[in-house]
């Protein structure tokens, strides 16, 4: 009962901390709100007309939504790269970044769930997925697994920071014996969510482009590049606009994680390219379409080459010590990497998996404005949640906001 009272007070204080800010902050939140409303409007159109309001069809039956979902699972999983050194290896440098990382994981997960929901033909029947009152095809369906691991990861990433914040809020030191087991679990769980999401696609022999044992490891490598890259950028923004002081050494350490992950990702890309292109079989046809186009249809070609170019440039920048240690270059590399991997997961993976269709029909996909509107709306919601989480957590973490008895 007392804990509940403290929790309510924490939420109250957190909300008031999140609603106070300077002009820039309010403009930022207003812009996000605008895009969220726009997304809601577009989603309303989609609910009304059905998924025919999107660019998807019987040939390319997953599009922008599932692409973003796949990418964001990676971003969520990447929080572990900060959690691990801080709590397990006791690297103090990262401790300040961890809370941000976990906030990022929570926001990314909520976005994931939102993207899956907007992709459903009958979102009103989504309750069929709830174990107990619905009917759950577990362990057969990888999608059922994904529902479990994503919600479990969300739960872990909500409870650990909550416990730590609750302790700090009361001026206590968090008890390691309580949160460390949770942290250890989250480390394995993070790998799990991205592997399960990869298995979702890799488990389909009907789509040879996805049916590859490298898909899971490649998902991990690209996630551990794109996720921390986003964290590096976010930390600098937070450093600039808040009292939360993040040292350059923290950013440097994270940039090492990004570098290694980006390098491994490139090696895996080369390995995949070799397999598909050296001795192309019937199963390489989607890769052929992706890289060269088929029958004069080549909508994805510019996407994949720009993605690879950005990937290579970013990895080169990161690999050269002098460039990586220069903040400006590091930021360029992070932005490039983030975009490259976003394209790689969508236009470079989900869409070409459907082209050509099972009988060879080549139907190209382009998202409609409604679809783009909903996507932008979900991203805005993610940023909105992330901002609120960070804005309310920082004063508690730094000890400025404490529980007032009575």
């Amino acid at each position: 009962m007392k804990q509940l009272k403290i929790f309510i007070s924490l939420v109250k204080d957190g909300v008031s901390a999140a609603t106070i800010g300077n002009r820039t902050y309010h403009i930022w939140m207003a812009v996000l709100t605008f895009f969220m409303l726009l997304g809601a409007y577009c989603f309303n159109i989609q609910l009304d007309e059905g998924l025919s309001a999107t660019g998807m069809n019987d040939r390319v039956s997953w599009g922008l939504y599932i692409s973003n979902f796949t990418f964001l699972v990676g971003v969520a999983a990447a929080a572990v790269m900060l959690v691990l050194p801080t709590y397990v290896l006791k690297d103090v440098d990262f401790s300040k970044a961890v809370l941000i990382g976990e906030g990022l994981a929570v926001s990314a997960l909520i976005m994931c769930l939102a993207f899956v929901t907007v992709d459903l033909g009958g979102p009103a029947r989504a309750w069929h997925l709830i174990p107990g009152i619905g009917r759950f095809n577990w362990p057969d369906s990888m999608l059922a697994w994904d529902v479990i691991v994503l919600n479990g990861y969300l739960f872990i990433n909500l409870t650990i920071p909550l416990y730590i914040l609750m302790s700090k809020y009361q001026g206590k030191i968090p008890n390691k014996n309580i949160y460390l087991p949770g942290v250890m679990l989250s480390v394995f769980w993070a790998v799990g969510i991205h592997m399960v999401t990869a298995f979702l696609y890799a488990g389909l022999p009907a789509r040879p482009f996805w049916n590859s044992s490298l898909l899971g490891p490649r998902f991990l490598a690209s996630a551990f590049a794109a996720g921390p890259a986003l964290i590096i950028l976010a930390l600098q923004v937070i450093n600039k606009y808040s009292s939360y002081d993040i040292k350059d050494t923290t950013l440097r350490k994270i940039s090492l994680v990004v570098t290694v992950a980006a390098q491994i990702n490139l090696i895996m890309l080369a390995s995949e390219l070799f397999k598909e292109l050296y001795a192309p079989t019937h199963h390489s046809i989607s890769a052929m379409y992706l890289f060269f186009g088929l029958e004069g249809k080549n909508a994805l070609v510019p996407w994949i080459y720009s993605s690879i170019a950005m990937n290579v440039v970013a990895t080169v920048i990161l690999t050269m010590h002098t460039l990586r240690k220069n903040m400006k270059w590091l930021n360029v590399a992070c932005v490039l990497l983030f975009l490259a991997i976003w394209i790689e997961k969508g236009m470079g993976l989900i869409i070409p998996g459907f082209i050509p269709g099972p009988w060879g029909a080549i139907v190209e996909y382009a998202p409609t404005w409604v679809e783009i509107g909903v996507t932008v709306g979900v991203w805005a919601m993610g940023f909105f949640i992330f901002t609120i989480l960070v804005k309310s957590a920082i004063p508690i973490e730094t000890g400025r906001l404490k529980y007032q008895r009575g």
Partner: protein
């Protein structure tokens, strides 16, 4: 061995095998349901409470609404809580079907005849396609659309006829969208549709068990349970599934009123559908519409467990093959040539 296990599972899943209502076959929710537990009673009471409550709110709020309108929205409201078809008792199935019939009658003024007939014993359906006889007329496609109430607006079709050039069976080079006189010189034709695999990848991936293989081998969809995630569509190597991207439209005078719950009853937007070997016909002992419509006799349908059936004769006497056999899906759809 695996097949046996699957069969067992399928048997357990059919609610008919749990007559005493207090067994623990099946798993998860099913177990809870089959046991006459307090929880089930509670859920039921809760649902009933919601239903009555909603009904009251509805009649209280809409003084001007006619009785018919009230009944309509009451039926719509009830349909939201409808459970998975596989888990329904015979009585619940009957009530659900009655509600669907009444709902259609209120909305369209005509009374459909929706069957919930289950599979017959010792029946396993199979299909054979004679490549030598097919001439690409596409009468099967049209008959299928008429029979199964498919969306006319997007011209949804379960069957695709592929026009191959003589000398190769390569679907990538074939044309399934031709507009010229058939049969074209130097070409031959092959039809594809749902192959009702014995090991269906689409069923395995469905997260909510909205699609399953019936005991007579027909792969069906519960249109009211499907959440529209389209994972089955991605998993099917044969392009056998179709999605309702919008509300399907069938002109009232063209609606086939002879329907089956798992077959050609009218669908809504956002759910999957597919060929069911015309379950509303085949379970009554008739041939599917495509078989009946084919003017050349290229299509053969029958019971694989009946040694005297035509399909068994074809399998025994013709050199048959199936498509993409390397995927291990075991289609129950064979091709052969004379």
């Amino acid at each position: 061995m695996k097949e046996k296990k699957e069969n067992n599972k399928a048997m357990q899943n059919t609610s008919g095998s749990c007559q005493n209502g207090n067994c623990s076959c099946g798993d998860g929710y099913q177990q809870t349901l089959n046991k006459k537990s307090d929880r089930r009673g509670m859920l039921k009471k809760l649902t009933m409470g919601l239903l009555t409550g909603a009904g009251m709110v509805n009649s209280a709020c809409s003084i001007t609404a006619s009785d018919e309108d009230k009944e309509k929205s009451q039926l719509d409201w009830e349909s939201f809580f409808q459970g998975n078809y596989q888990l329904m008792t015979e009585d619940e199935k009957k009530k659900t079907v009655e509600r669907l019939e009444r709902s259609y009658e209120l909305n369209h003024g005509r009374h459909p005849d929706i069957s919930a007939k289950g599979p017959e014993k010792d029946v396993l359906y199979g299909y054979a396609f004679n490549i030598s006889k097919c001439r690409g007329y596409m009468d099967c496609v049209n008959a299928c659309v008429q029979e199964n109430n498919q969306d006319r607006d997007t011209q949804m079709q379960y069957i695709r006829i592929h026009e191959h050039k003589n000398g190769q069976i390569n679907f990538e080079l074939a044309e399934d969208n031709y507009f010229h006189e058939v049969p074209a010189e130097g070409h031959f034709y092959m039809g594809t549709q749902c192959f009702h695999c014995e090991n269906p990848p689409c069923v395995k991936v469905c997260p909510v068990e909205a699609t399953w293989k019936e005991k007579d081998g027909i792969v069906v969809v519960d249109y009211d349970w499907c959440i529209g995630c389209r994972y089955c569509m991605a998993a099917c190597p044969y392009d056998g599934r179709r999605f309702n991207w919008q509300t399907p439209e069938v002109p009232e005078e063209e609606v086939n009123l002879n329907q089956h719950y798992l077959g050609n009853r009218l669908r809504k937007k956002g759910v999957m559908e597919k060929c069911t070997f015309c379950i509303q016909r085949s379970r009554e002992g008739k041939n599917p519409a495509c078989v009946e419509a084919c003017p050349t006799g290229a299509r053969i349908f029958g019971n694989l467990l009946d040694p005297n059936s035509e399909i068994r004769w074809v399998l025994a006497n013709k050199k048959v093959f199936r498509l993409k056999e390397d995927l291990g899906t075991e289609p129950k759809f064979w091709y052969f040539m004379d």
